[in-house]
Every structure is written in C-alpha cells, then in structure tokens.
C-alpha cells in the first residue's frame, strides 16, 4: 500500500516534497522483490516441462521457458540466463516489465489447471539477475565481416538488432538522439519496475559484446537523414519508437498543469530524488494504456491526495492488462470508465477542473458521447492517450500506414535496404518484448541479405 501524508491540510497545486525522501523511497520499492534461491527452486519445481509448451508459443521472443526453468531447478541459473538471452537479449528487463499475465503465464497449463501459473517472469528475473551479479559475458562478436549496418534509435528494438548483427560479425553504428541508451526502458517504464539502474546495466551488457559504436545526441531528421546513411551503410534498421504525443484537442488544453504523461515519467525516471518531483493534490489521468496506469500509480506514490484515471471505453478495451488495472486500484487510484473529456477549466492560467461526458459504445464499436456531463476537480491533468510517430520526420518516402511504418514479415520496409521495428511500425505491439523480437527478426533478415545477396553499384540489391 502506498504511504500517504496523514497531514489533514493538503497543499493544493503542483508541488514537490509531498512525501519525505524515505517515504517516497518506500513507495517506489520493487514491485516484485527478487526471489530467494529457496523460492526459485520451489517455484521452478512447479513447471511440468511441457511438450510443445504453450508458454513458449505465447512469448513473442519464443524463449525456451521449460528449459530455462529446468536449468534453475538444477541449480544452473547462469545456464538458464543463457537460454533466455539466446532468444531475448533484454531478458532482464522483460522479466520485470512484460505483462506476463497476458503472455507466457496466461498460457501456462497451470493457469488452466489451478489458476496459478508458474511465475515465469520472476524466475526469468532470478536467472538474469544471477548472470548480471556474476558479470560474465555470454556472447562474443563474430569475426568481422566488413559489412556496416546503421541502427537508428538505441531502444529495445535498436539494441536487440545491433546485438544480433554484432554476433554475426557485422559492424554496427547506432545513432541515438538522447544521452543514454535503452529507450523507454530508461525513460518510460515505471520506476518501481526498473530499480537498481537495470536499464543501463542491461544496455551496457548488450553493448559489451563489441563491434557496436553508439553515437549519442544525434537525431534523425535534424542531424542526419536516412538518405545520408544509405551512402555509408549497407543496410539501416529504424527503431525510433514513437516520439510524438496525441493531443486531446479540447478547450483549456494549454493551461498550466495539463501535462504530457510520457515526458513527466521521463523526468521522474531521470531524477535522483523522487521527493523532488512536483505533483498535484487532485490528479486526473486521461487514457487507458500502460502509460496512463503508470503515471496514475506513480502520482499516488509521490503523494497525490486523489488520483482518478478516466478512460473513454470499458475495462476490456483498456490497453493496460487486468493485473495493471488491479495494481492501480490497490495503490488507491480510482478508475472511471466510459467517459471522455470535453473541457478543461482553469482559475487564471492554472487548471482547476475537468469536464467529462459519459460515453456509449455503439453497434459499430464506435465511442459516442451521451450528453451526460460531470466535472472532476483537478490541479493536475495528465494526458496519456497514446503516442504517435513524429510527423515532421522525413523517412525517405518509405511506405507508411495509419501513421506508422509499414513492414513485411522480416520487418523490411518498402525500401529493400531499410528495416524497421518496435513501436514505430504498424504491427508494433507497444511492448518491450515485441520490440526486441522485431530487432532480432530484422537482424536475421539483414544478415541473410548481407551474406547471400550482392549489392549492385547503385546500392540497390541485385
């Protein structure tokens, strides 16, 4: 349970220090504490070592789950980590952030048998923690092939792609706009899921394979273009995520206190002292995805008095899993369903309330306003209604669909020398694990292309 200030006189407005340093630290402790060796061995023993295991099918990266669990049972946690990382180089982060209740653990036969799956995610963390504590490098760069590949974006998709290419011996240069690697692992994921600097430790582990040069602070569109890269590199992988945020397009959106959730979380993730984060007393979050849940829960953990999450459709349509919805509720977040914002009210320039209209889903599945209005007091409003691809970007005329990059099965774009993956592609599932899979699949295809096809002089594939 979140600790809150007992103080009856609640300070209104967006202020820092609602809780003491130690209170926030307690609130932001590990969501699932690491398993002890004893717990790991008891839980590993629950795995049936299924044939054609449904958990493996359910994992976007197809980790051999029964094998790694059996390795844990045998006291071979490093071997288990090797099994995991072989398929998913971000196994450590995925162990913490995957919605396992919708993926492997939902598929686990023990969910069907007794509604209590093997705790695959936590066992995966046990194995990868053992590896990171041990420090040994499991992967070596392949013999230099002389081929050069450019990767744009050092998020999960880009890093996974770069790592797989390095294993094959290709030279990779990553162009990253920010000052750190990891993408949303570093700047987006909820703080209580990514303690102990795990995002950086994992990125360092990935880059330590060698053969990958990472250039920070260089932005596609501003500092270079895809066209310019095509001159120096055989192939390009684009893994730039979704830089833009969707607007509410309602009156009052410009007032002080109406905040983009993703950039707020970014600041939160980078601060050393969480109690310095300013947060409102009455916080309203608009949206139903992981970002909405995360900003709501973290606001509560920072000491907001009331946090209300409002989503325009029903529970089942929410992007956040049932587990995440329950997490929000047990942390004291109120969830209001079937309501959409119509106007933000302000006192002076500062937000004071937000007006909602109740909605209905019509037969065509569209969300319609009903004219039924209610108002929530608010001194802070978070917008978490989804991200989009930076519309200003010049992506070299590669085909787009519904605002995202259109790719084929191998994640190749309409330009045969450019691949893309992660959140920026149409098929992107907005999960770390699927971004990793995209990077891996694209790297395999790029490797095949580099080793089987010859390039004609004008750079087109022959």
């Amino acid at each position: 349970m979140v600790q809150n200030n007992d103080d009856t006189s609640i300070t209104r407005g967006i202020v820092s220090g609602r809780l003491t340093h130690s209170e926030t630290q307690a609130n932001f402790c590990d969501l699932h504490p690491a398993l002890s060796p004893h717990q790991a061995s008891i839980d590993a023993s629950r795995c049936y070592f299924c044939h054609d295991a449904p958990c493996v099918t359910a994992c976007p990266t197809s980790i051999d789950i029964p094998l790694f669990i059996r390795q844990i049972s045998g006291g071979n946690a490093i071997g288990a980590a090797e099994t995991i990382l072989e398929q998913n180089i971000m196994g450590a982060m995925c162990a913490r952030v995957c919605p396992t209740e919708q993926l492997c653990e939902e598929a686990c036969v023990r969910t069907e048998a007794e509604e209590k799956p093997v705790i695959i995610g936590q066992l995966q963390r046990y194995a990868t923690d053992a590896l990171f504590d041990d420090g040994r490098q499991l992967f070596t760069r392949g013999e230099d092939t002389g081929h050069k590949v450019a990767v744009v974006g050092a998020g999960p998709a880009g890093l996974a792609c770069a790592h797989r290419l390095a294993r094959y011996g290709h030279s990779v240069t990553i162009f990253e706009a920010r000052a750190k690697a990891g993408g949303l692992n570093e700047y987006g994921i909820a703080a209580y899921k990514a303690l102990d600097d795990i995002a950086q430790r994992e990125a360092d582990y990935i880059l330590a394979i060698g053969g990958i040069e990472l250039r920070y602070g260089v932005k596609l569109g501003t500092d270079f273009s895809l066209d310019s890269l095509l001159g120096d590199y055989a192939h390009i992988f684009v893994g730039i995520g979704l830089g833009g945020v969707n607007a509410l397009n309602i009156v009052g959106e410009d007032n002080n206190g109406v905040v983009d959730a993703v950039s707020y979380i970014e600041t939160l993730r980078q601060t050393d002292d969480l109690s310095s984060m300013a947060v409102g007393s009455n916080v309203v979050v608009i949206g139903g995805g992981m970002t909405a849940i995360d900003v709501a829960v973290q606001s509560k953990k920072l000491g907001a008095d009331t946090v209300t999450l409002v989503y325009r459709r029903g529970k089942d349509a929410m992007g956040a899993s049932l587990f995440e919805q329950e997490l929000a509720q047990t942390n004291g977040v109120n969830i209001i369903l079937n309501a959409q914002p119509s106007e933000i009210k302000a006192e002076g320039d500062n937000v004071s309330a937000i007006v909602f209209e109740r909605t209905l889903i019509d037969d065509a599945g569209k969300c319609q306003g009903t004219g039924d209005i209610f108002t929530l007091p608010a001194d802070m409003v978070f917008k978490a209604i989804g991200q989009k691809l930076d519309s200003e970007l010049d992506l070299n005329d590669i085909n787009m669909k519904w605002g995202r990059i259109d790719v084929g099965e191998t994640r190749q774009t309409s330009n045969p020398r450019i691949w893309a993956g992660g959140d920026c592609i149409l098929e992107g599932e907005n999960l770390t694990v699927s971004a990793v899979e995209d990077g891996k699949v694209a790297a395999e295809a790029i490797h095949t292309s580099l080793t089987t096809a010859t390039l004609t002089t004008d750079g087109e594939q022959g």
Partner: protein, 433 residues
C-alpha cells in the same frame, strides 16, 4: 471405530505402529515422548556389548530431496547405541514399568558367538521387555566387525543365532532381515527354522546418497572421507513391499508373522504393508523428519479406512492382498486395456504425448481439427500406463478395459477367457508347467 489394538507374535500394543530401532528409540526421553504422542510400541535402539561403540563426530545423515525439498530418502552411517549397556537396560526397565500397555522390544547385536548371546539375554529379560529383535541388518560399520548384515547375509548364521536366543530366553524373538541380499526368502526361511517368532524387514539398503562435487567426497563426509551407509525413507518402500510379499507367499514362511518396515510415512503406506502380509509396522525416517505427532494421522487414517471397508481388526486386513500377488507367467494375456484421456480435465501439457512418442508406442496424437488435442490412438496403444504416470493431473488419463470386439492394434478379436504365458504359443516350454 475399528479396534487398532495389536497382538504381534504374542506382543501386545495399543496400536500396530511401532517406532523402529533407531535414534527415535535411543533413550528413555525419546521413547516416553513417543508414548505420550501415541505410538503403540518401540524397538529400542540396538544394544551391544560394553564398551559401547563410538560414533563419528561429523555428519551421520545424508538425504535425497524431492524438488520441493521433501525428504524422500535418508541415509545414515550411525552405529548401534553408543551408551553403556547398564544405562540402557535400566531405562528400558523403567519405561516398561511406566507404560505397560505399550510394546517395548529390545534390539540386540552382539558378536556371533554363543557366549555373547548367553550373557546378554538374561540381562534383557530382567528388564521386563516384551521381546527382542535381532539386528541382522545394519549394512555399515557393524558389518565390518562381523555383525549386522554380515550375519544376516548368511542364512546358516541367522538360523544359528536365532536358535541360541530361543534356547537362552523365554522372550519372543523377532529377526530383523537385511535387504542387502539377492533373495530375501533364504534368510526368512533360516529365521523360521531357527524358531523365530517373527521376522521384521527391511533394515536399510547399502548406499552412497550423493557425491559432493566440490570436495569430491561421498556425502556425508567427515574430514574429507565418506563411507557407504544405510538407505531408508519413502524411496525404499517399493523394495520393502516386495520383500514382505515374498515372505508372505513362500510356503516355508507364510505363517511367520512379519513386522513391515521401510518408508512408511502415513496410514496408507502402513495399510499397504499390512495388506501384503505384515502383522504390524515400524517407522523410522518419517518420525525423524516430522516428529512423533505423525502417529495421530496414522492411527486416525487407518481406523477411518478400516471402518469404511468394514474391517474390525488389523488382523482382518493382514495378508488381504497376498493372493493377488502372483508370478508374471500367470498374468492374463487376454486382458486388453487402452488409455483414455478425459478431455475436460486435460490441461494440454503434452507430456503424455512426448513420453509415448519418444520412448514408447507413438500412440498419442497431438492435433484435431487444427487445434492442440491430445488423444489416444487405439491402433497403437499397448496399455502400458506410461501416459497415466506422466500426466500431472490425477484421474485425467486412465486405462480402460476393452472387453469385446477387436483390438485395433493387433486386429485380433478380444477373447474373454483367461490365458497366460504357460500355455502361450510363443512359449517354447508351454504346457510343461
């Protein structure tokens, strides 16, 4: 409730559950606690001649754990009682006096010389103990000195020592047999010939429980060296059950009472031993792992089950299953079974399939109408039971008799008559038995 009182080879006890001769019965303190907890009797930890033996000061026990750390096998390198004889005898006398309705049997192991037995037996008789048990089973330490299993492995010695004991005392004599032999019936016959009132079995099985891969020494080890020890606990129960049934079926020993020992951990284990011919049972490992309170589950479970089945006394159960233990050659070869998977219970783990596919008869299909669906193919199923055993859901897969029609595997019509190997056309010596 059923009457659990027991009369085993003339020794009376309040229930058929005795603690086997081992650490739980090493001294009055333990035995009194056991009686307070409800145990029907004890076989006192084996006494030897003075000066007493000396145990190692390093670890004595090793264990085999299941995945969840439950102890499924225990091994030990402990010797017989390391306390002076007179202290043990005085305690036995006092305990027997204080607990007249419980059985107190004294386990003995002295050198294989007439004089040694002649000397110790009157001392034991003087305690008022209900009987003696001859420890011909300890497979480690004592056997190096020509006692324990070293005697139990030679039927002539078993008979000789048993006869001395009958000659020099009036107490009932139980001969405890070692399983470290090729055929348990020889030792049991020897004990019977020597006049034993009963046999008890099994003692522990010679074993090395595991190897410490860091120090490269067997476990448990003392100062870098280890030795073989005696294995017991749930893992040895099947071996003990078989040996008990062999003695219960053997014409030469079938009327010798049997005290069943080996891996008994709950009432059901005990009932199985009794059904195969045991008159009572002894327990060691389960008590060492869980303490004496387990007796409550054992007596209440056995009593309830006997009530349900309409058995009034333990004697009504003894040997009930013996007639159904037979030789392989008499099994009905016309009896056809096929595995059947209950689709409502199936959780689709696929273990039955992979076990059958990789290691047996390729009789479990995986797909139906494009969906994962595990189903037995009667054309291939030989009814071996492997799928039933591997399935994690109890009752999901069962073997069902195919009583009529044609067996799709052999294309032969099912014959409802009984036919065994002795008359089978493939048996070169058919008709000779």
């Amino acid at each position: 409730m059923a009457d659990l009182r027991s009369n085993f080879a003339g020794i009376k006890s309040s229930n058929p559950f005795w603690l086997a001769s081992a650490p739980p019965t090493d001294k009055a303190y333990n035995v009194v606690r056991a009686f307070e907890a409800g145990w029907g009797g004890v076989v006192w930890k084996t006494l030897g001649e003075d000066p007493p033996v000396v145990n190692v000061n390093g670890p004595r026990y090793g264990a085999m754990h299941a995945d969840d750390r439950r102890v499924i096998g225990l091994n030990n390198i402990e010797l017989i009682s390391d306390r002076p004889l007179d202290i043990n005898l005085a305690e036995i006398k006092q305990v027997k006096r204080d607990w007249p309705d419980r059985a107190v049997v004294v386990s003995l192991m002295v050198p294989c010389e007439e004089e040694s037995w002649r000397r110790i037996l009157p001392m034991v008789e003087d305690t008022g103990a209900d009987g003696i048990e001859l420890n011909f089973g300890c497979p480690h330490g004592m056997s190096e000195r020509g006692m324990g299993a070293a005697v139990g492995q030679i039927p002539d010695y078993v008979e000789m020592v048993t006869r001395w004991c009958k000659q020099f005392s009036r107490m009932p004599v139980i001969v405890k047999l070692t399983p470290n032999i090729t055929d348990i019936r020889y030792a049991a016959r020897a004990a019977t010939k020597g006049g034993a009132d009963a046999v008890s079995l099994i003692n522990t099985i010679n074993s090395i429980i595991s190897v410490d891969l860091d120090t490269m020494a067997p476990n448990p080890h003392t100062d870098g060296k280890g030795t073989h020890g005696g294995y017991c606990g749930p893992a040895v129960k099947p071996i003990a059950l078989n040996m008990v049934s062999e003695i219960a079926r053997d014409p030469e020993t079938l009327s010798t009472p049997i005290s069943g020992i080996g891996g008994i951990s709950n009432w059901r284990d005990a009932a199985e031993f009794i059904a195969l011919g045991a008159g009572n049972v002894q327990v060691c490992t389960a008590a060492m792992v869980y303490g004496f309170k387990i007796i409550e589950e054992m007596t209440s479970g056995l009593g309830r089950w006997m009530d349900e089945k309409g058995y009034d006394t333990v004697g009504d159960v003894t040997g009930r299953a013996v007639e159904n233990v037979t030789d392989w050659k008499y099994l009905n070869l016309n009896y056809i079974t096929k595995a059947k998977i209950d689709q409502d219970l199936c959780i689709k783990c696929g273990r039955c399939h992979i076990a059958c596919e990789d290691t047996s008869h390729q009789a479990i299909n995986t797909v139906k109408d494009g969906e994962k669906y595990y189903e037995v193919n009667d054309d291939e199923c030989v009814g071996c039971n492997l799928c039933v055993i591997t399935c994690p859901i109890e009752g999901c897969i069962s073997l069902e008799q195919m009583a009529e029609g044609t067996d799709p595997r052999t294309d032969k019509p099912i014959d409802s008559s009984y036919a065994n190997w002795t008359t089978n056309a493939n048996n070169p010596s058919a008709g000779q038995e």
